[in-house]
Amino acid sequence: MNSKVFFGLYVPTNSILHRLDPRMKIIACFWYVVIVFLANNVLTNVLLGLFLLFLIWLSKVSLKMYWQGIKPLMWVILLTAAVQLFFSTGGQPIWQWHFLNITSLGIIQSIYLIFRFAFIITISTVLTVTTTTLQLAAGIESLLKPLSYLKVPVSQLAMMLSIALRFIPTIMDEIQTIMDAQRARGMDFSAGNLFQRAKRLVPVMIPLFVSSFKRADDLALAMEARGYQPGAPRTAYRQLRWHMNDNWAFLTYVVLTVALIVLRQI
């Protein structure tokens, strides 16, 4: 079963970062992405880079895992940097050909851009290698809780999310079974052009839809029999706990932000 694709890159090294509250980690990841855009010079970028290395070291996960997060997006990063490089104006012109030009400012900006991308991808990887999908879902639910005062059905949405996570492996297995059944009848899913291949997926999708509706029906009945009523108050088996370490993590981020703002002025 190929559940790895869907369950992120969680690596159970049980580091100090693994044990932080998922809410702290989600906020921290989000905040880091925000302050990446405040970095405007060499010093601020070095600060953010060093901080990231510190997190990687804390996570006890090998650098290779992080590289695997960046690798598939390498082309996107380089392409965006190239666009930035050739089309930006300002600074000393260095090279020009028709509408393309390279300026000193363009070079600097495209380098920063590459760093920004790498930082953002890596900080998200830090979050996913240290946090299970279940914890992420619980963290998101808890952070969105205030929205329920605006009549947003947060707990129902969270229930939907957790059921989706629960059924992804089951449905992946089912796709495999249906495809094997079709292969046994001589279907070749890998031959032909993109359109032909997509067309061959139709006899896989139809039985999948039919069985998914049946599944949803069964599941709704089973949930009702076990006392589930959408919108009714429920207690929670999994509760998030904010520990002392979460306070330290928070403080670290405050210090990081202050340092960044100071370095921006230099």
Partner: protein, 292 residues
């Protein structure tokens, strides 16, 4: 239509944990009723099996008892509580329902989370949950799997988790709608053994729906439904030994009943009641030795 009825004395009520009175049910849009004038009592602490051909209304009856379908006409009482919209929470707590497909009733992302699902719905406090989950998993012999995800469990193990989910709510009645029909022989034997244990040791009332005659003989009583009607309700050995009744309603015969049927065709007089395989062996031995 009713060929036998060995019910409870009317009006006594106290011993019946489930009581169905003149129940008629028609699915919206259908012209014919799926259940017509069904009345029966389920005595507390017994194992009752519903048998009947496909489409005879077995699942519909079980769902009506648990309040999963709205009653059109007639009444149902569970533990003396009328099955009605406003009592559904209490009814769902008193009845544990285990369905056919092991995958489609597994709600949680892990075994413990799945058992917790019912407890969360019934607002059991966070502090009490770990103990109740452990207790329920212990009853079905699944404690070592508490942290496992459903993808790592066999069908039989998933069904045992479903039973644990039901047990954690401390119900009085357990309903099994063909809960073993998708399991391999080993998983099925384990689940059936567990049912017998739950009935004898823990005093649960069990209502099981089954297509398999070898499962129907395990209980105390049998309900036979056909064409929306209650055809027979009586002790297992009477109904499961009656090959004429079973064949008339297009049902499979248990092995020993089949054997007796063939002996009878050869002109041998056989006992009328259902006999277990051991009883049949003793009887055959007696016959053979008396012939000598």
């Amino acid at each position: 239509m009713l060929e036998y009825y060995i019910g409870m004395t009317k009006g006594a009520g106290s011993l019946a944990i489930v009581s169905v009175k003149d129940l008629t049910f028609t699915y919206p849009g259908n012209s014919e009723p799926t259940l017509a004038h069904i009345s029966l009592d389920l005595p507390a602490g017994e194992w009752i099996t519903i048998i009947g051909p496909n489409g005879s209304g077995k699942s519909t009856l079980a769902r009506l008892i648990d309040g999963l379908l709205p009653i059109n006409s007639g009444e149902i009482y569970v533990d003396n509580i009328p099955v009605k919209e406003e009592n559904l929470h209490a009814i769902h707590q008193r009845i544990g329902f285990v369905f056919q497909n092991p995958d489609n009733q597994f709600v949680g992302t892990t075994v413990a989370d799945d058992v917790a699902f019912g407890l969360e719905n019934h607002q059991v406090s966070h502090e009490d949950m770990p103990f109740r989950i452990k207790q329920a998993l212990n009853d079905v012999d699944m404690v070592p799997y508490a942290k496992k995800e459903p993808a790592y469990l066999s069908g039989g193990q998933k069904q045992r988790v479903a039973i644990a989910g039901a047990l954690s709510l401390r119900p009085k009645v357990l309903i099994f709608d063909e809960a073993t029909s998708m399991l391999d022989p080993e998983g099925r034997q384990k689940v059936l053994k567990l049912l017998a244990h739950l009935k004898v040791k823990k005093g649960f009332t069990i209502l099981a729906i089954s297509h398999d005659p070898s499962e129907a003989v395990l209980g105390d009583k049998v309900i036979l439904l056909d064409h929306s009607h209650l055809v027979a309700y009586g002790p297992t050995n009477q109904i499961m030994g009656d090959s004429e009744l079973l064949m008339k309603h297009r049902l499979g015969l248990p092995f020993t009943t089949q054997l007796k049927e063939q002996l009878q065709e050869n002109g041998i007089t056989v006992p009328k009641e259902y006999q277990s395989e051991e009883q049949m062996m003793t009887w055959l031995n007696q016959q053979l030795s008396s012939k000598k």
